[in-house]
């Protein structure tokens, strides 16, 4: 049975058999073993983590620990509102923090950062994620927008995002698009943070 634990760039969670390259969590979202509930998040510390950390093994979506979510790669995780984990992805977290300070000024602490990210990514009462409109050619590398699908911005071009891969790069569309990566994170990308990309985007 394919579990409903794959996060798409718009932050929604689906049952997709393709494997991701990063995991992450938003709290305990499953209501029984291997059964997801309706909540999209339970706390504000939305992180993305490495799949392999100190050889530990977990039975996914069981017990009353966090619910394991999966992403194609870090660009998708960032678009879905997550940030690098400070434990299992310390080097990435430190790069994120440095880019944050370049973009937003003094690092206010991880809890304040999570609150700022939450305000930028979510409609809390509606349990939905925000998007905003911008020109595709104004977006930095690593940002993801939606038009007739999801697209990664990379070196002035766009790659369509699929659950298991990226398409080859093509021209950016003219005009406005719906940007999925929240503006707080877009500023971090503009400041030079380079997300870990799936091999089909390298």
């Amino acid at each position: 049975m394919t579990l409903r634990n794959r996060v798409l760039p718009d932050g929604t969670i689906h049952a997709i058999p393709a494997r991701g390259t990063l995991t992450g969590n938003r709290g305990i979202l499953h209501v029984a073993d291997r059964e997801m509930g309706s909540a999209l998040w339970k706390h504000r510390a939305w992180i993305c983590c490495t799949l392999d950390w100190q050889g530990r093994r977990r039975q996914v979506m069981t017990g009353r620990k966090w619910t394991e979510l999966f992403f194609l790669d870090e660009a998708v995780a960032l678009a879905a509102g997550h940030r690098p984990c400070g434990y299992c992805r310390r080097a990435a977290f430190d790069r994120w923090k440095a880019a944050w300070e370049k973009a937003h000024g003094r690092w206010p602490g991880v809890h304040a950062v999570d609150a700022l990210l939450h305000a930028a990514r979510a409609y809390p009462g509606a349990r939905r994620l925000r998007t905003y409109r911008a020109r595709a050619d104004d977006l930095p590398n690593g940002a993801i927008f939606r038009r007739d699908g999801y697209y990664l911005v990379q070196n002035g071009q766009a790659r369509q995002v699929h659950p298991d891969r990226y398409d080859r790069a093509d021209a950016l569309p003219d005009g406005q698009v719906d940007v999925l990566t929240n503006p707080v994170t877009v500023a971090v990308l503009e400041a030079g943070y380079q997300p870990l990309l799936h091999q089909t985007a390298k």
Partner: protein, 122 residues
């Protein structure tokens, strides 16, 4: 009651719209639809109750006291603790957490919901 003008503005409708039912929106009617909305497995998709999510989001941001009144009205309508998550979100929006704590001292259902919300935050 949620003022009709707030509902109209939240949904992008003119103040004199005839699309909405006449009068203000009773909290119990609103919360019945909001609780149904919280039960949808994918709130990113359009559902008939999506408007209720938009209204609650507006209340949390601009009228937190009224958002709490709505949640209190909703306590009588459900026992599945779906309101724990919105309550947790509301409690993190500012000074309303003081009122929530005060209400909980005399409202066992709210106190239980707070316990659920706190457990989910861990």
């Amino acid at each position: 009651m949620i003022p009709r003008a707030i509902v109209a503005r939240t949904l992008g409708l003119p103040a004199d719209t005839e699309v909405l039912p006449p009068g203000d929106l009773p909290l119990a009617r609103f919360m019945a639809r909001y609780i149904a909305y919280l039960g949808t497995s994918n709130p990113g998709t359009e559902t008939p109750d999506a408007w209720a999510g938009a209204v609650m989001d507006h209340l949390m941001a601009d009228a937190p006291d009224l958002a709490l009144e709505a949640i209190l009205a909703g306590l009588a309508l459900e026992n599945g603790h779906r309101l724990a998550d919105p309550l947790a979100e509301l409690g993190q929006t500012g000074a309303i957490d003081v009122r929530i704590a005060a209400e909980a001292e005399t409202n066992p259902a709210l106190s239980e919901l707070i316990a659920q919300a706190n457990a989910a935050q861990e």
